[in-house]
Every structure is written in structure tokens, then in C-alpha cells.
């Protein structure tokens, strides 16, 4: 794990921005009893150190007609996880793909328009010669995010 941890002010900055990424830095400064420049510098430093990777809005994909989030659990022939992973990441609609230890060898999450696209994506992966099986789970409802609960030490 990376050596340099965050101090109390950093944690306050992170907490405030997790709750609401648009929190004015001035507000955080007042809360911490420091100057706005201190908070500005901390914010910049947190970004430079890679603690904060960016900020974003969470949207409801269904309301935007973007489709459904789908999780795929893929079992593959031993030793081919790297090459299968490299093929999976080229498939349209992918959000995240990873090698995994446990139930599956590769897990991936896609954002797919409809049942038809879910079917073709599954088949596409099953067609890879090193793939043994593909299990599928379709997210119902909007996914609940709880970045607000993300814990700091």
C-alpha cells in the first residue's frame, strides 16, 4: 500500500467532495477553519497524488435510455486469462473487466442496450475458443452507489 496517507484536512476535503463533488472549496475551508488557499492546495495535491482521480455525476442509465448494466462471470481454460481479457476489453459497451480469483476467472460489467445485445455479447464471448462458460446477471433497478459510505482511516 502506498506510504503517504491523508491527514485530517485531506479526509475532510475527500468526505465533503464525495457527498457532493460541487461543494465550494470555501465552504470546506470554513468547516476546517483554514483559508480557502489551504483547501485549494490540498485539493490540487490530492489530485496530483492520484488519490482523487476525477469527479463525476452518477446518472440513472435507464432514465437516459442507455440500457442495462450486466455482469458476466467467465470461466476459461487455464493460463488463457490474459488473452481472453484482452479480447473482452474490445467488446463494445464494456465498463470494467478484470481477472478474478474465486468463482470466475474473468468478470466484466457491460452497459448494454437491450436483451438482444446482451445475447450477442454473451455469444461473442462464448465463441472465444479458450472460454468454457459465461454466466450472466442483469442489474434490475438502478444500481445503488454508496460512495458516501466509503471509509477512511
Amino acid at each position: 500500500m502506498s506510504g503517504k496517507m491523508t491527514d485530517e484536512i485531506d479526509v475532510k476535503v475527500l468526505r465533503a467532495l464525495q457527498k457532493n463533488a460541487r461543494t465550494p472549496l470555501k465552504e470546506i475551508a470554513e468547516h476546517c477553519n483554514v483559508t480557502i488557499d489551504t483547501i485549494k492546495n490540498r485539493f490540487i495535491a490530492l489530485k496530483e497524488r492520484g488519490v482523487i482521480r476525477g469527479s463525476t455525476i452518477v446518472i440513472d442509465p435507464k432514465r437516459m435510455d442507455l440500457g442495462n448494466l450486466v455482469i458476466l462471470g467467465i470461466r476459461i481454460v487455464e493460463r488463457y486469462s490474459e488473452s481472453v481479457l484482452n479480447m473482452v476489453i474490445k467488446i463494445p459497451g464494456l465498463c470494467v473487466a478484470t481477472k478474478a480469483i474465486g468463482e470466475y476467472d474473468i468478470e466484466a460489467i457491460f452497459l448494454l442496450k437491450d436483451i438482444e445485445q446482451i445475447g450477442t455479447t454473451k455469444e461473442m464471448i462464448e465463441d472465444f475458443p479458450q472460454v468454457k462458460s459465461v454466466d450472466i446477471g442483469i442489474f434490475v433497478d438502478k444500481p445503488l452507489l454508496c460512495p458516501k459510505n466509503f471509509e477512511f482511516d
Partner: protein
């Protein structure tokens, strides 16, 4: 709800950087900052924008990997259990799903001890029937904006 150009630009810009100033978006669209601010509030009220947040790199704050929990529950209890799971610190995202499990939760994990604690916490919830774990190694995120990790 129908989206027009203004809504789409707001969503696109804020997805890339949630701290983009409304003034900047307004200038681009040649409208007033108040228009942008009103639209933003409307998008939030309508539940299209669920949240704004910073994307934190978990490995920089003491977490070492990500685990996916696949949870089977007694029929009709999934909502109740989901509401509990979502309050576990370190869970990033959780949802009901159809297919392999009834619920899925993705969490950042400090170490193996922490992983077992998380598993036990979920297993001890009433009406939970089984918990399967997948530990994520070498995770590639192509659209991290969609998937907050």
C-alpha cells in the same frame, strides 16, 4: 422526460468533471448561468442525475483489492437486504440482479481479514442464503465514469 441540447451538454460535461462551472457551460451554450443551474436542479429532481461525487483511488487510501459478492436470498427479501448491504462502509455499488444471483455488491477490501468480515456481515443478515466471492485482480476500467471505483 425529453432531453434537449442543454441537458445533454450539462450531463456530458459534468460526467467528465463534476466541478465544471455552470458559467463555463453557459458560455459554451450561449445561455445564462441561471439556466444551467435551473436545468441541473431539474435533472437532479427528476432523478436523472442521482449524485455528484469524486472518484477516489482506493489503493491510495489503504485498500488493496476489490471483491464482488454474489448473494442469494429468500424470495421477496431482496429489497430489505439490499438496503442493509448498501450501508456497509467500503461497499461501492450494490444492486438487485436477475440471473446468477439475487443481489450483487462490489466492495473495496483492505485485506483477507476484512474480506471475511464482509462476508460474515452479509451472511449473518436474516434471509441471506449464500454468498459467493470473486476477488478482482488486474482490473481494467474503460468507462470509470459509469462505474465508480
Amino acid at each position: 422526460m425529453k432531453f434537449d441540447k442543454i441537458d445533454n451538454v450539462i450531463i456530458k460535461d459534468l460526467k467528465e468533471d463534476a466541478r465544471t462551472s455552470f458559467r463555463e457551460i453557459a458560455r459554451k451554450l450561449k445561455v445564462s448561468p441561471d439556466t444551467i443551474s435551473n436545468r441541473f436542479e431539474k435533472l437532479q429532481k427528476e432523478g436523472i442525475i442521482i449524485d455528484t461525487t469524486v472518484v477516489i483511488n482506493p489503493s491510495k487510501i489503504g485498500y488493496s483489492f476489490i471483491a464482488r459478492f454474489g448473494i442469494k436470498v429468500k424470495p421477496a427479501y431482496s429489497t430489505q437486504i439490499l438496503d442493509k448491504i448498501i450501508t456497509i462502509p467500503s461497499v461501492i455499488v450494490a444492486s438487485k440482479i436477475v440471473g446468477i444471483y439475487d443481489l450483487v455488491a462490489i466492495s473495496v477490501v483492505k485485506n483477507f481479514q476484512h474480506l471475511w468480515e464482509l462476508r460474515d456481515t452479509i451472511l449473518e443478515m436474516p434471509y441471506v442464503e449464500s454468498v459467493k466471492i470473486g476477488m478482482w485482480v488486474k482490473t481494467m476500467e474503460l468507462a470509470p465514469h459509469y462505474f465508480l471505483i
